[in-house]
């Protein structure tokens, strides 16, 4: 079965972002496919490259990195939400005259069309947060 995930809440508030990553991992372990994880609204903060957590706290970044690097899962962030939350890649940093990019390179700037593409071509779309 083909799954896509929609992540709406910030990784810094509540557990939904990490639950989404754990769910994606389980789906893959059971032999299904994750077509795309789409991050919208505060969910885009999952891409924050410079977030520093307390030493005794895990971050969701390593879970996302494993999904992207080991399983080729596409991590797409909504560009409008991302910009509003200060999440910029190099292109957007240049375009908006900001000194440096702020997102981790695991994540790809994307539009809502990619969310539509994700659910239109998936058997299941699971929403996390909201």
């Amino acid at each position: 079965m083909i799954y896509s995930l929609l992540v709406l809440s910030s990784p810094f508030s509540g557990h939904c972002s990490r639950t989404a990553a754990a769910f994606a991992h389980c789906v893959i372990t059971r032999g299904h496919t994750v077509r795309r994880v789409f991050f919208l609204d505060a969910g885009t903060l999952a891409s924050a490259a410079n977030s520093v957590s307390a030493q005794d706290e895990d971050t969701s970044m390593k879970d996302w990195a494993e999904l992207a690097n080991q399983h080729g899962v596409e991590l797409a962030i909504c560009i409008t939400s991302a910009l509003k939350h200060g999440m910029l890649d190099q292109v957007e940093a240049d375009r908006n005259e900001r000194p440096f990019p702020t997102i981790d390179s695991l994540f790809m700037m994307s539009g809502l069309g990619q969310l539509v593409d994700a659910y239109a071509n998936s058997d299941r779309l699971i929403t996390f947060g909201g």
């Binding site: 919208l40 609204d41 069309g113 969310l115 539509v116 593409d117 659910y119 909201g130």
Partner: protein
């Protein structure tokens, strides 16, 4: 973007219009879905019914008016807008002047509605 298959979608809006970015995120998703020719309906539940409040003015809070955006939905071929009748009652709302035309559903009708779609997107 690959060729898009047409799916039936129910977008469920459960949060108040200005307490978070979710109302706007849901509306933007609805408009994008309509632009990509998906067949979609909306259901307002719980605190989400407050998005339908007539005479709201988001500009007071320095943000875009959710009601005004809702009023533009018919332009995008969004088929049906449903509302949780119990929540409307709880907030004692008069929906005769709501920004869009809506149909009230009770609990069993909402359950019936939800099983009719390929996907539910919950905001």
């Amino acid at each position: 973007m690959t060729a898009v298959t047409k799916k039936t979608i129910l977008i469920v809006l459960r949060h108040s219009p200005y307490g978070s970015g979710l109302a706007k995120a849901a509306l933007n998703t609805a408009l994008a879905s309509a632009a990509f020719d998906q067949s979609l309906d909306l259901l307002f539940m719980g605190n989400g019914v407050l998005q339908l409040q007539p005479d709201q003015d988001g500009r007071v809070k320095g943000v875009k008016d959710v009601g005004r955006q809702l009023a533009s939905l018919p332009l995008y071929d969004i088929n049906h807008v449903y509302v949780d009748a119990q929540a409307v009652e709880r907030y004692n709302m008069d929906l005769s002047k709501s920004p869009v035309e809506i149909r009230r559903l009770d609990g069993p009708e909402i359950r019936q509605l939800m099983i009719c779609y390929d996907h539910l997107l919950g905001f």
